[in-house]
């Protein structure tokens, strides 16, 4: 009578694959319409994402950012919240990392790293907790407040980088470069220590941090009583009250964790790649994180996989725009948009198509 529920494999695997194929098919038609060869475009895209070491490095570097912001959206989602403030929280996280690297650089790396982690999560969390408290205590919707906090974060950074943290005698709004010993090692450096040669790329050790964060989210949300409470609040606030679980406390907690995860993006970008504080390093990763989380069904495994897809689209797409002249940068954005559209917004479009197979199974 009501919608029959899909088995797990169908919802988690089959449906996303069908969605991606539909997006690629439509993209192919688009590419053909502008006079390029869609098959060639697909091959360029794939080779650009995975075809050689540098490409893989770039893909995984983007993936790292998407994992952080995707997890951030997912944790809030499990508490029934739609945190679209990943951009702002990541900006603040980066600020935290930057302050540690700028002002605690007298310390050795093994002290700078934990301090930077604490600062990035604390700053990100604090930036998300304020909307969280406003939601819990005053009912101000987090969708509104978090997006407003994105603007505040961005203007705060502009102020700090033009007036306070700017390297003296310089025009561009950036801090000085950090001391080299505070850099998070690149993957190619780390692999070189192990004697494995690898091409240079921005990929750094924060990729492992992202995987650790995924394991943490999985364990916390599904295997602790705090995660249980958070999910009860998200799934049924009335049942939470009935069970004596405070929705207010859990809303604030979920936003704090969500913001902390987004803040970790700053470790990758500031400590791992740019080695200085600068503007707009979040580059829209916070927003794409929403699509990543949607597509990954708010589950860490799904998020890692969809982050990989988006990482590949970013890197392969850049290559595609570079190599196939007819396919411009804008077309690549359209293709990425189509994937988000089919995987995120039109998630269940092909559900009726899938149902006969499910029944047979």
């Amino acid at each position: 009578m009501t919608e029959t529920r899909l088995p797990r494999w169908a919802g988690l695997v089959a449906l996303p694959i069908v969605n991606i194929l539909a997006a690629l098919l439509l993209s192919g038609l688009l590419v053909a319409a502008i006079g390029a060869d869609p098959w060639q475009a697909l091959l360029v895209l794939l080779r650009g994402a995975f075809g050689y070491q540098e490409a893989i490095g770039f893909t995984l570097y983007y993936t790292t950012n998407f994992i952080f912001t995707g997890l951030a959206v997912a944790v809030a989602y499990h508490c029934g919240l739609f945190n679209i403030g990943g951009e702002g929280q990541a900006t603040l996280g980066g600020l935290g990392v930057g302050l540690v690297c700028l002002y605690a650089d007298a310390l050795p790396f093994y002290l700078v790293l934990p301090l930077a982690l604490i600062a990035s999560t604390a700053f990100g969390a604090a930036w998300a907790v304020v909307p969280g408290i406003l939601q819990a205590r005053r009912g101000s919707h987090v969708v509104i407040t978090t997006i407003m906090f994105n603007f505040i974060a961005s203007t705060l950074m502009v102020y700090l980088l033009t007036h306070v943290l700017i390297r003296p005698g310089q025009m561009s709004p950036e801090s000085r470069e950090f001391l080299p010993h505070t850099f998070l090692p690149f993957a190619h450096q780390a692999l070189a220590w192990l004697g494995i040669p690898f091409a240079r790329s921005p990929l750094n050790l924060s990729f492992f941090l992202a995987l650790l964060a995924s394991v943490f989210v999985w364990g916390f949300v599904w295997h602790t009583r705090w995660g249980y409470e958070l999910r009860v609040v998200g799934a049924n606030p009335q049942a939470a009250l009935y069970a004596g679980i405070s929705p207010q406390r859990n809303i604030v907690l979920a936003m704090a964790i969500s913001g902390a995860l987004a803040g970790l993006l700053g470790v990758n970008e500031i400590m791992g790649v740019n080695h200085r504080l600068l503007l707009n390093f979040t580059a829209g990763y916070g927003f794409v994180g929403i699509a990543v989380s949607l597509m990954g069904r708010s589950h860490p495994v799904g998020i890692v996989l969809s982050s990989l897809l988006f990482g590949a689209l970013y890197q392969g797409g850049a290559e595609l725009a570079f190599e196939v002249p007819r396919v411009s940068r804008e077309i690549v954005v359209v293709i990425q948009g189509l994937v988000i559209l089919f995987a995120g917004a039109l998630e269940f479009l092909f559900l009726p198509l899938l149902r006969p197979f499910v029944k047979a199974a």
């Binding site: 009583r225 249980y228 999910r231 009860v232 799934a235 009250l241 004596g244």
Partner: protein, 562 residues
């Protein structure tokens, strides 16, 4: 209660019948085109020559693996009231949804007055003269009665003419069927009983000759239900056909001419109402013998701890979010070893009272004591003090429907050391605990990994009961323990509640089912408009007395309560 009452409030029925008869005699020409079939003609001889108002032939419907209707054949004679009974999931609603065009049957045909019809959409059902009154009303609450009536049948671009026409029509219907409603009242301000009347008027205004009512009395007071039955009686006398879907066997006995019993998608029996009994119908519905009333010994309150009120509520008031006082200075005690029932029409403060005692809602003033100590804190703190709570709405509150059964099974007790270590939940212990509860309470299917929403209402309720009773509480609050629960499970749930009482626990029961209150409770408190208007010993209670008290009138005192 075992012998069926002829009708609730015999006096009122007689008067209503008399008044109706007079109305029909006074103004027979007001109802053009309606045959004044005497009820007897429709029931007795001569039915064979008139085609049935509705005939369903070999209806078959599957939803995936669920065979909702199996080869169902059913004929409803014109000018009769036909009851359809069956447990949840027996296929009654599916069958009526097919008749009303929500679903298409896989096989079989529908005949209206002997003519085969295809009903693919509700519009076609309405055109064929079928009207449906849903359990959950489909009214636009901020609109007036009149606006609701013409909704969808305005018949032109300007509304004024339709409204004028409807006003005249409404006056006529009100006279003919005792369906008085103020046409200019805003629906949201009407009582549930009146809203239901608007639904019936809506159907009649669209020319319904056949009226289907789905569990129509579940939201009514006995007096309102009584009035509804008078309306149905009038409709029948005017030649309309009524199909009544209900699980209340007493209503079937009181008002219907024939009754069809469904079980697991099939028609298992059809009976002349006069020639059957509630016991027979119950047995046919469930497929085995059912005790309609669980026998219980006399309460021995205080036996476990003489004189101690296990639950004492003193001067409790609750103000809701919009500032309305929903519970007003309520005081009572529930002693160990007794069940106290709170009767009342839904929405008179019972839910708020219950939630305040359970720590879900903050009381504006007053105190609650559990086993003598002042109860304080949120629901979780109160659970630690020996209070368990089976909420009124298991789907809204008692379970997290999206969670697996074993996750719902620890709701409220999730920080019990049995279920969680210092950091991680002990999944294995939780699943084992849930499996044990499912065995103990005969939950089907006994699968702790199945989503809570996949269980039937009765099994969900058993899961909630298992969780709450399983903690061996000193005080149990129970709201609507058998709402939407199969008749077989009702018996089981009642027996568990009585067993808890006999174990020396205090049970506070809230139910809108008077039958349930009267058969379970040892003492009955009646709530009206946030106050307790009176207390009745269960053995001295009857429907009429409680019904009057539920309307705020205590006939034992000279002046009106409240």
């Amino acid at each position: 209660m075992s012998n069926p009452l002829p009708l609730w409030g015999g006096v009122g029925e007689g008067a209503g019948e008399f008044r109706l008869r007079r109305m029909v005699q006074d103004a027979p020409d007001l109802i053009p085109g309606v045959k004044h079939t005497p009820a007897q003609a429709a029931l007795g001889e001569g039915v064979d020559v008139i085609p049935p108002a509705i005939e369903l032939r070999h209806i078959d419907k599957r939803f995936g693996a669920v065979h909702a209707n199996r080869d169902v054949s059913l004929a409803v004679q014109a000018g009769t009231i036909h009851g359809i009974v069956g447990e949840n999931g027996a296929g009654k609603s599916t069958l009526m949804s097919i008749l009303y065009g929500f679903y298409q049957a896989d096989r079989g045909e529908v005949l209206i007055r002997g003519v085969k019809k295809t009903i693919a959409r509700p519009v076609q059902a309405i055109a064929a003269g079928i009207g449906m009154v849903f359990q959950h009303f489909k009214l636009v609450e901020p609109f007036t009665v009149l606006e609701n009536i013409v909704l969808g049948v305005e018949g032109g671009k300007l509304i004024a003419r339709a409204l004028a026409h409807a006003r005249g029509e409404l006056a006529r219907l009100a006279r003919d069927y005792a369906l008085e409603v103020d046409p200019d009242a805003v629906v949201a301000t009407l009582s549930v009983g009146l809203q239901q009347r608007v639904e019936i008027l809506k159907a009649l205004y669209r020319g319904a000759e056949i009226l289907i009512l789905d569990e129509p009395t579940s939201v009514l007071t006995p007096q309102e239900a009584d009035h509804l039955f008078r309306i149905l009686g009038a409709l029948k006398r005017q030649g309309k056909t009524v199909i009544l879907i209900t699980h209340k066997l007493r209503e079937i006995m009181a008002i219907t001419d024939r009754v069809t019993v469904m079980r697991r998608g099939e028609v298992v029996a059809e009976r002349e109402t006069r020639a059957t009994t509630q016991e027979e119908l119950a047995e046919l519905m469930v497929g085995r013998k059912v005790l309609l009333q669980v026998s219980k010994g006399a309460a021995r309150p205080g036996a476990a701890r003489p004189g101690a009120g296990r639950l004492a509520v003193e001067d409790l008031s609750v103000v809701d979010a919009s500032g309305v006082e929903r519970v007003k200075n309520v005081s009572f005690t529930v002693r160990a070893g007794e069940i106290v029932g709170i009767a009342g029409v839904a929405g008179n403060g019972q839910s708020e009272l219950m939630e305040a005692i359970a720590g879900i809602r903050r009381a504006a003033k007053g105190t609650v004591r559990i086993s003598g100590g002042a109860a304080h804190g949120n629901a979780r703190d109160l659970r630690r003090q020996g209070l368990a709570h089976v909420p009124e709405d298991r789907r809204r509150m008692g379970l997290v429907t999206a969670f697996a059964a074993h996750e719902s099974a620890i709701l409220g007790y999730h920080d019990d050391p049995a279920f969680t270590g210092p950091i991680l939940l002990d999944r294995r212990a939780i699943v084992a605990h849930c499996a044990a509860q499912m065995r103990d309470f005969d939950v089907r299917p006994p699968d702790p990994h199945l989503a809570s929403e996949s269980f039937s209402g009765g099994n969900q309720q058993k899961m909630v009961l298992a969780r709450e009773i399983g903690r061996d509480p000193e005080v149990l609050l129970v709201g609507q323990p058998t709402r939407g629960v199969d008749i077989g499970a009702i018996e089981y749930i009642h027996r568990r509640l009585i067993a808890l009482r006999d174990a020396g626990k205090a049970v506070l029961l809230i139910s809108v089912e008077l039958d349930e209150i009267m058969s379970l409770a040892d003492r009955i408190l009646v709530m009206f408009d946030g106050r307790i208007v009176g207390e009745v010993q269960a053995d001295k209670a009857d429907e009429r007395l409680l019904g009057l008290m539920m309307a705020g009138i205590d006939p034992r005192t000279p002046r009106e309560a409240a």
